[in-house]
Symmetry: C2
Subunit: 207 residues, 2 copies
Amino acid sequence: MNTDVPRRGRPRDPERLKRVLEAAAQQFLEHGLERASVEAIAKASGVSKVTIYSYFPTKEALFEAAVASCTEEVFASIPRGALDPRDPENALTLIGKAFLQLKRSDKAVGTFRLMFAVTSQHAEACEAFYRQGPEELIHQVADYLRAAASAGSLSIRNADEAADQFLSLFLGSADIRVMLGLGKPKASEDARLIKANVDLFLRAYAK
Amino acid sequence: MNTDVPRRGRPRDPERLKRVLEAAAQQFLEHGLERASVEAIAKASGVSKVTIYSYFPTKEALFEAAVASCTEEVFASIPRGALDPRDPENALTLIGKAFLQLKRSDKAVGTFRLMFAVTSQHAEACEAFYRQGPEELIHQVADYLRAAASAGSLSIRNADEAADQFLSLFLGSADIRVMLGLGKPKASEDARLIKANVDLFLRAYAK
DNA sequence: TATTTACTGAACGGTCAAGTTAAGTATGAA
DNA sequence: TTCATACTTAACTTGACCGTTCAGTAAATA
């Protein structure tokens, strides 16, 4: 991917690259790495196949670029402020809501499926995905838990471990069913799940 | 797949079918549905490709048979007896151990990856996998929790929900890393995870 | 205008793999 | 022994798709 700006001649159309990446992401997420064809991505983005190959040397390179842009987008949606260290019940509920909203999105579901499927061929991409995705998320939750512990709202020794536990509570049967394409829970079921998990967590880590 | 026993002529060699299914499972789990070739499965099982096509009409049919036999094998390893309703700490530790042993196995990891990758093409196989796998497991844990609640060892209102929660605690960062092929935790780390999760669960559901 | 670069469309080469066919061998039942 | 069925080997057909080439068009700078 050459991003240099040449001095003369027709400049690159930045819209095209954007459309290619979007279409690539859509096709890869929906069909997987092998079943998505470059031809189809070209069609879907309204760009010629040759142009795609002028952007990326191989299908694999296009795949990695598409996945990287996906990861950013998927994990960008977690609330930073508005988490009161003195009100863990409310804060954890908000975190749970945001996490489920993310984890239920087609894009996130597709990205996880995709990454799981390409571990042997794209180990580095998986590593990057983990660090920018799940790991980052756990750190953010751990930060809140440390703040809540400092504020005396919770009794937590190992915030990273606790954050991992809290988030993992949302990866049970409902998430597995979603990942298997067996249908998403109703909003009321997810609300109930959030309440049950927050309750459990607060009982275990009460002051 | 015709299982009828013909009256005359050379009988089928049952060993061959077994070897084919084993080799197919191995190849599909390692390389995925698209990247595993029928030719390679034939080679690996020491059987000719034509014979495979006499057993199964298409690669897809072979895939479904292989997956079905895998699911049985993977989820057959949970301890039934020896769970004392009066000693939840010990029982939950045993359950956690067994679950992690299962979830860390190459076969289970491969099966989950595979099923996640083929949701759109093999919806029925995914449904069957969920029912015979995760759902069944949750039911078994819920049964124990009900027994423990009846014995007065735990205070649990919704055993199915609690079982789901307990098992989901093992699907956090460590499991994600394994699923992404980033390496398995050391035995000591898993032991620590089990203890942390059992402790959390007991604190939340103490009598 | 001349030149340089971006892009398109269509066609093509090469590879890989699904599934088939044919000709022949092995094995067991009648 | 005869014959039906299982199995193998090897070649083949078919189709998909990656990646390239080429001839031509579009859009910018000098």
